[in-house]
C-alpha cells in the first residue's frame, strides 16, 4: 500500500523502516507504526478470529477498545496490536484459529449461534451432571483467546516509579494540556498522562480550523510544545491509567519506546488534586455484521490516514451520528477516498459548514439513515442502509464502512474515584453528578465539542486544581469561568444504539461475541439490570474492559424495557481500566530478605538456605535433610550454629523494670546481675506470644532476646502495653546490631577456652549465667550459658561486623575437636529431644502459657505490674477443656508422623506439633497438643496423616524430656 507520506499530521517516520515476521514472511512498516498499522499497510485485513463464533475481525478502534486485533507477538498472547508500537524483528502470529485468521476451519461455529443463546453454558449440558466436564473441555477447546505456554518466561525489563505531584492531569488532549499549563502557573508540580505516544488528543490528527490562523493539529502541537517546555510539568506519554484510589492515588503503566530502558513501567502517582480530561471514545453502531473487517470507527479511519498515512479503503460508506463523522468524510475524500454515501442517524443538528463541505465534494448525504447490514464474508463488500424506522432501504458497494452511533465519555477514572454517574439527556452521556473532593473534569468528557470551549474548560479545571493545593486562584478561575460560559456549551448527543434489525449478528460486545439478540434473550429471562445482564451474557467482560459495549448496553436495556421515566444505569467499572502484563505489576520484584552477618561463610560451608520469615537461614549443611551427622556431632562433640536472627533489645531508663514486669509473666525484679532469666510474654488472652532471656547490664539497663519471628513487633508491643503509664524508659532494637553464635556440645568449653579471655570453668561461668569478655583480646562478646539443644552451650553475642571474624576464630579453634556447623533443622531435632519448645511450632494462636507446661514461669504475686495476660491465665487455670502439650514416642521407631498431622479417635483430639526421628535415642519422638483427657502418661494416640488411606499411625505418651531428663549435660 502506498503511504500518504507528505501529510503534516503524520506520527510516523516513513524514512525509517521497521519489519516484522508474520506467517513466515517479512512485512515492512515504518517507525511510528503499530503492529496493526504495519500489517494493514501490507494488505492484512483479518487480524483475528472471535472468541465463540470464530468470526473474522479487523481494525476497528485503533485504541485497543476490543480484542479485534489481539495477536501473539513475540510469544506473548493477546497483545493488542493496534496500540503496540512496531519494533524491528517482532514475531507476530494469529491466535485462536485452526488454520489462519484468514482461513479458520473453526469458522463453521458462526452457523451454530442458535445453539448458543445467552448464558447457554449455565443452562445446557449440565444434565446429566457427568456431561458437563466433557462438554466444558470441548467448549474451552473451541473458544478462547491466546494461549500461553506453561514454561513461558516474560522477556524484557519491567520496572516502577512513584512520582509525586500536586496536580495530576489524566489525558493529554487540548483540555488536559491547558489544565496542566494553568496548574503549573503557580509553580506546582504537575504530572500529565496520556495513553497515546504523543500529546494532542482529538486535535492531533484533525486539519479543521482551530482559528483563522491555524488548524487543530497545529494548535495541539503548539500546546504540546508549551507543556514540554514547562519545567514543572512532567509528561508521561504512552501511559494508560489503570486505577484511581482514595486520596488521589493514581496508578498507570507506561509503554517504553525504543530508547527507553524499560519495556513497561508501573506508575504510582500521589497527587493532591486530579484533573480528568480523558475525552471521548466512539459509541459503536449496532447492525447486522457490524464487526466485519472493513468496518471501523470514524476516528480509526481518520487516524489511519492522518496519523499513519494509510488510506483505510478505496470506496467507503459512512454511517455516523456525530459531526466528527462528517468532518472525517470530507477530509478523507480530499485524501483520495471515494465515498459512496454518508448516512447520518440524526435528522437534524449537523454543522452547516460540514454539510456544505460534503455538498461541495458531491458526497451524497442521507439524514435519518443508518447502516442495517454489512455484506461480505471476510471483508465488507456491500452495505444496506435503511431509514431509522426501517421503512426504506438502499445498498451501496464498498470496501470500507465507517460506522459510529455517537460519542461517549471516558469516565473510568471518575468511576474508580467513586464519582456517581447519571445519564444526561442532552448530551446522551453518563456524566458525574458528585465529583469527589479535589477532582475536576474538563474537555470533551463534559460534552463540549468547540475547540475554544474545550481549552477554556481545561484552564478552569487546572486553576481549580491549583486552588486545591492552597493557591489563591479565585480571580483567574472566575475569569476562566466567564470565558467558558461565553463559548458554546455541551452539544446535543444521540441515543440511537441499533439499526432496525433483529440482532442475530449485531454484536454489542466483540470480545465475547455477545449479540443484540443475546441481550434481548437475557432480558426476556428476567434479567432486568445491565449489571446482571453483563454477567449473564459476558458482554463487556473481555480484554476491551467494556470499551465497546460499556455505554451501549445500558442504553439498549433501557430502550428495550421501555420503562417510563427510567434512565439508563451504567455498569460498574473496576481496575485495571486497561489490561496490562502481570510482569508490569510485578516490576523489578527484588526479594527483599535479611541475611545474617555469617551468610557468606555458611554458604561457603555448604549451607542449604531457606526463607524463614524475613530471613534467609541455613537450614541444612548437607543433602541429608535428616541432619543425622550434624545432630550426632553436637551430641558427641561440638557444633556451631548461627543464631543471629534472634531478636535482641536494650531497654533502659528509670522505668525499664516496670515495663519488663508488664510484658513478661515472670518477676523480672529477680533478674540478678550476671544471671540469665528465661521468661515468656503473653497476650491479653494469656496465649504465649514470645519467649526469650533477659540479662541485667546495669541499673535500669537490661538486654533481652526474643524469638526470631517476634523481633519486628517487640518495640511496638511494649510501647502499646505501657501507653497510658507515662513511664520513662527507652527501647533500642539491636537485632541486626548483634550477631549470635551458639557453640554447643560436650567439647564446647574446650573450644571456647582456647580463644576466650576469661575463665570458663563451671564455678566461674556456671549454667544460666551471663558474662562479658573478649575473644582474642579484641572482640567484645556478651556470653550466656544456655542449653536450648540440651548440651553444654555458650551463646556469644557480638557486634555484627565482627561476626565473620569471630566465627572463623572459633572454627579454627575447634578444628582439633572436629567442630562443624549445624543448621536450623538439626537444632530443631536437638531441642525436640530435650522437649524445649519453639513458639509457633508447639503453639498456635489459642495456646496459652499453661497449656505448654510453662506455668512455672508465671509469677502470680505481682499484681501491681498488671502483667499482660495474667487475668486470662487465672481464668483458664482450672479449665479442663484445654489442650495440653505432651511428648510421645511412635510405636514404629522408624516412622515419625508429619508435622501438623491430626490426632484422632472418633473425632479430632489434637495435632502433632513437631515429630522427628531421633538419632540420639534411635526412636521417633514428637510433641503434640492434645485434649487434656488424653494427656495422661501411657495414653495411646492415633495419628491421621494426609494421604494415609485410613491407615493410622500409633504413638504413646511418654514423660518429657526424652533426652537427659536430669539436665546434667547442660551443666557439665
Amino acid at each position: 500500500m502506498n503511504r500518504l507520506t507528505k501529510l503534516p499530521t503524520l506520527r510516523i517516520d516513513p524514512s525509517e523502516n521497521r519489519s516484522l515476521q508474520y506467517k513466515g514472511q517479512t512485512y515492512q512498516g515504518v517507525a511510528g507504526d503499530t503492529v496493526a498499522t504495519a500489517l494493514y499497510a501490507n494488505g492484512v485485513r483479518v487480524f483475528a478470529r472471535s472468541l465463540k463464533y470464530h468470526r473474522p475481525r479487523g481494525l476497528y478502534s485503533l485504541d485497543g477498545e476490543c480484542s479485534n486485533t489481539c495477536m501473539q507477538v513475540d510469544d506473548i498472547p493477546n497483545v493488542r496490536t493496534e496500540n503496540t508500537l512496531l519494533k524491528n524483528g517482532m514475531q507476530v502470529k494469529d491466535q485462536n484459529v485452526k488454520g489462519s485468521a484468514e482461513f479458520d476451519w473453526m469458522g463453521f461455529m458462526d452457523k451454530l449461534d442458535c445453539l448458543m443463546p445467552a448464558g447457554f453454558y449455565y443452562r445446557t449440558m449440565h444434565k446429566p451432571a457427568s456431561l458437563w466436564p466433557i462438554a466444558m473441555k470441548q467448549v474451552r477447546n473451541a473458544a478462547g483467546l491466546g494461549k500461553i505456554a506453561p514454561d513461558f518466561r516474560m522477556k524484557g525489563d519491567y520496572t516502577e516509579i512513584y512520582p509525586r505531584a500536586a496536580v495530576c492531569v489524566i489525558g493529554g488532549g487540548a483540555a488536559g494540556m491547558t489544565a496542566a499549563l494553568a496548574a503549573a502557573e503557580s509553580g506546582l508540580r504537575v504530572v500529565l498522562l496520556d495513553a497515546r505516544p504523543w500529546l494532542g488528543g482529538c486535535f492531533d490528527y484533525r486539519v479543521s480550523a482551530y482559528d483563522q490562523e491555524k488548524a487543530l493539529y497545529q494548535r495541539a502541537r503548539e500546546l504540546a510544545k508549551a507543556v514540554e517546555a514547562t519545567p514543572n510539568i512532567r509528561v508521561f506519554k504512552h501511559t494508560a491509567v489503570v486505577g484511581v484510589y482514595n486520596n488521589n492515588l493514581i496508578t498507570a503503566f507506561q509503554v517504553g519506546g525504543e530508547s527507553d530502558s524499560f519495556n513497561e513501567r508501573y506508575l504510582e502517582i500521589r497527587a493532591t488534586s486530579v484533573v480528568v480530561a480523558t475525552g471521548c471514545i466512539e459509541r459503536p453502531l449496532l447492525f447486522e455484521n457490524n464487526e466485519r473487517p472493513g468496518i471501523m470507527q470514524v476516528g480509526c479511519a481518520h487516524r489511519l490516514a492522518r496519523t499513519y498515512g494509510l488510506l483505510p479503503g478505496n470506496q467507503a460508506v459512512f454511517s455516523i451520528g456525530h459531526d466528527l463523522g462528517l468532518e472525517a468524510a470530507a477530509d478523507l475524500f480530499d485524501l483520495g477516498l471515494q465515498i459512496a454515501c454518508v448516512a447520518d442517524i440524526r435528522a437534524d443538528g449537523q454543522d452547516p459548514q460540514l454539510l456544505l463541505a460534503l455538498t461541495k465534494r458531491n458526497i451524497p448525504f442521507l439524514r435519518g439513515w443508518v447502516a442495517c447490514e454489512a455484506h461480505g464474508s471476510r471483508q465488507v463488500e456491500k452495505v444496506t442502509l435503511s431509514t431509522i424506522d426501517g421503512s426504506a432501504k438502499r445498498q451501496f458497494g464498498c470496501d470500507l464502512l465507517v460506522a459510529s452511533a455517537g460519542l461517549t465519555p471516558i469516565t473510568g477514572p471518575l468511576t474508580l474515584a467513586q464519582a456517581k454517574l447519571k445519564y444526561d439527556m442532552h448530551t446522551g452521556y453518563f456524566l458525574p453528578v458528585d465529583l469527589p473532593a479535589k477532582t475536576h473534569i474538563a474537555g470533551r468528557l463534559t460534552g463540549l465539542q468547540h475547540a475554544l470551549a474545550i481549552e477554556a474548560s481545561g484552564r478552569l479545571a487546572g486553576l481549580n486544581a491549583a486552588a486545591d493545593c492552597g493557591f489563591d486562584t479565585a480571580k483567574s478561575a472566575a475569569e476562566a469561568g466567564q470565558q467558558l460560559n461565553a463559548l458554546p456549551g455541551p452539544e446535543r448527543g444521540t441515543r440511537l444504539v441499533s439499526a432496525p434489525v433483529k440482532g442475530r449478528k449485531s454484536f454489542i460486545c466483540f470480545d465475547e461475541d455477545t449479540t443484540l439478540k443475546n441481550i434481548k434473550q437475557a432480558i426476556e429471562m428476567g434479567f432486568d439490570v445491565p449489571e446482571l445482564i453483563k454477567r449473564f451474557t459476558s458482554a463487556g467482560t473481555g480484554p476491551g474492559q467494556g470499551g465497546i459495549p460499556g455505554h451501549n448496553l445500558p442504553l439498549l436495556v433501557s430502550e428495550y424495557q421501555a420503562r417510563t421515566g427510567a434512565k439508563p444505569i451504567p455498569t460498574t467499572v473496576r481496575p485495571p481500566l486497561v489490561p496490562t502484563f502481570i510482569a508490569t505489576y510485578a516490576g523489578a520484584n527484588h526479594d527483599m530478605c535479611k541475611r545474617t552477618p555469617l551468610h557468606d561463610l555458611q554458604k561457603k560451608a555448604g549451607g542449604v538456605f531457606r526463607r524463614m520469615g524475613v530471613w534467609r537461614r541455613a537450614r541444612y549443611f548437607s543433602e541429608d535433610f535428616s541432619c543425622r551427622e550434624e545432630i550426632l556431632n553436637v551430641r558427641n562433640n561440638v557444633g556451631l550454629l548461627d543464631a543471629s536472627t534472634l531478636g535482641k533489645f536494650r531497654i533502659h531508663g528509670p522505668d525499664a523494670l516496670k515495663a519488663l514486669q508488664r510484658v513478661y509473666v515472670s518477676n523480672m525484679a529477680k533478674v540478678a546481675e550476671g544471671r540469665v532469666k528465661y521468661s515468656a510474654m503473653c497476650n491479653d488472652d494469656g496465649c504465649v506470644i514470645d519467649d526469650g532471656v533477659v540479662v541485667k547490664l546495669a541499673e535500669n539497663d537490661y538486654y533481652f532476646t526474643t524469638s526470631t519471628g517476634r523481633a519486628g513487633e517487640t518495640v511496638e508491643w511494649i510501647r502499646f502495653h505501657t501507653r497510658y503509664d507515662g513511664w520513662d524508659f527507652h527501647l533500642v532494637n539491636l537485632t541486626d546490631a548483634m550477631g549470635v553464635i551458639n557453640i554447643s556440645g560436650p567439647n564446647a568449653c574446650k573450644v571456647l577456652a582456647k580463644v576466650a579471655d576469661t575463665d570458663l570453668a563451671n564455678e566461674a561461668f556456671p549454667f544460666s549465667s551471663y558474662r562479658e569478655f573478649t575473644i582474642r583480646k579484641k572482640i567484645p562478646v556478651r556470653a550466656m550459658r544456655l542449653g536450648f539443644v540440651g548440651e553444654l552451650s555458650y551463646e556469644l553475642h557480638a557486634d555484627a561486623s565482627y561476626m565473620p571474624a569471630l566465627w572463623q576464630i572459633i572454627e579454627e579453634a575447634g578444628q582439633e575437636f572436629g567442630i562443624r556447623n549445624f543448621g536450623v533443622e538439626a537444632q530443631n531435632v536437638l531441642r525436640l529431644e530435650k522437649c524445649h519448645i519453639i513458639l509457633g511450632q508447639e503453639s498456635e494462636q489459642r495456646t496459652n502459657l499453661l497449656d505448654l507446661g510453662l506455668g512455672f514461669l508465671w509469677h502470680r504475686n505481682k499484681p501491681d505490674a498488671k502483667t499482660v495476660g495474667a487475668v486470662a491465665l487465672r481464668q483458664t487455670e482450672k479449665d479442663p477443656g484445654r489442650f495440653r502439650l505432651v511428648g510421645f514416642k511412635m510405636e514404629d521407631p522408624q516412622r515419625p508422623p508429619r508435622d501438623g498431622s491430626i490426632i484422632v479417635d472418633q473425632r479430632i483430639r489434637g495435632y502433632v506439633c513437631t515429630a522427628r526421628k531421633s538419632f540420639t535415642l534411635n526412636e521417633s519422638v514428637g510433641l503434640a497438643l492434645v485434649d487434656a483427657e488424653l494427656a495422661a502418661l501411657g495414653t495411646r494416640l492415633e495419628i491421621f496423616e494426609d494421604e494415609c488411606n485410613g491407615k493410622r499411625l500409633d504413638a504413646r505418651i511418654v514423660p518429657m524430656p526424652f533426652y537427659d531428663p536430669q539436665g546434667e549435660r547442660m551443666k557439665m
Binding site: 500536586a166 493532591t272 493545593c469 537485632t735 557486634d799 555484627a800
Partner: protein, 233 residues
C-alpha cells in the same frame, strides 16, 4: 585468622583502589572506575548514635542543637542529627570519627544496627523514585529533611541532603543491617539505566562536606512553618 577485622554487610563488586583501616573497619576510600555519577557509597562504618529521652530538648549532643520537630534535620560540624519522633533522635557522624559515646543516660551506639548508604549525583533522585513513594523532592521542605517509610519495600530512614536541578541531588538512607545486600542490589538495579556505580568514602566526603552547615541545614522550625502554610507543592 590473620587479622581481626570488621566487615560491612555491603560488598560491592568493584575494585577497591584505596582502603584505610579504622577501628578495624577496612574502609574503601576509592574504587576504580567510579564514573561521573550517580554514586552509591557504603557508609555503614560511620558511627551512629541513638538518643532517647522524654525531654530531648535538654540534650545537646556534642554541643549541637537537636531539631525540635520530627522530620527535621541539622547537619552541622560534620554531624547530622535527625529528629525521629517526640522522644528520639539519630546522630550520624558523617564526616569525622565519633568521640566516645556520652556517658549520660539515653545514648546507645547503633552503628551496627543499620546499613547506611549515600546515593548522590546526577539523577540520584530519579533512582530513588523507582524505589520509594516517599516524596524526597518535596519542594516545600528545605534540605536536609528526614522521611521515614518504605524504600524498596523496607522500612527506612531517608534524609534528602541535597536537591539540585531536575533529579540531581543526594540522599542518605538506613535500613536494618540484615537487608543490606537486598537493598544494595535493588538500588544498583534501579540505577543501572543511569550509570550508577559504587564509589568510595572520599567521593562522599567531597560532596557532603560542601553541605554541612549550609543555610537551612539546622533550620527545622522554618521548614515546618512552610509545611503549615501550603498543603502540598
Amino acid at each position: 585468622m590473620k587479622e581481626i577485622q570488621r566487615q560491612s554487610p555491603v560488598q560491592f563488586k568493584a575494585d577497591a583502589q584505596k582502603i584505610a583501616m579504622r577501628d578495624n573497619w577496612p574502609v574503601v576510600l576509592e574504587y576504580s572506575n567510579e564514573g561521573r555519577g550517580p554514586f552509591v557509597v557504603d557508609l555503614t562504618h560511620k558511627a551512629k548514635w541513638d538518643l532517647q529521652d522524654k525531654n530531648l530538648a535538654t540534650h545537646k549532643p556534642l554541643g549541637l542543637d537537636i531539631p525540635t520537630l520530627p522530620g527535621a534535620c541539622a547537619f552541622q560540624k560534620s554531624v547530622l542529627i535527625n529528629r525521629l519522633n517526640r522522644t528520639q533522635c539519630a546522630i550520624w557522624h558523617l564526616l569525622a570519627d565519633a568521640p566516645a559515646l556520652p556517658g549520660e543516660p539515653g545514648y546507645t551506639d547503633v552503628t551496627e544496627s543499620t546499613v547506611l548508604l549515600a546515593l548522590f549525583g546526577p539523577n540520584a533522585l530519579a533512582i530513588a523514585e523507582k524505589l520509594t513513594a516517599l516524596d524526597l523532592m518535596d519542594p516545600q521542605k528545605q534540605t536536609p529533611f528526614l522521611l521515614q517509610g518504605p524504600f524498596s519495600h523496607l522500612p527506612c530512614q531517608v534524609v534528602t541532603l541535597e536537591r539540585g536541578h531536575g533529579f540531581d541531588g543526594g540522599l542518605l538512607l538506613t535500613c536494618s543491617r540484615g537487608y543490606a545486600r537486598s537493598m544494595v542490589h535493588a538500588i544498583l538495579d534501579a540505577g543501572a539505566e543511569f550509570g550508577l556505580r559504587p564509589a568510595g568514602e572520599q567521593r562522599f566526603s567531597a560532596w557532603a562536606s560542601g553541605l554541612s552547615g549550609k543555610p537551612g541545614s539546622a533550620q527545622a522550625p522554618s521548614v515546618m512553618h512552610l509545611v503549615t502554610t501550603r498543603e502540598n507543592l
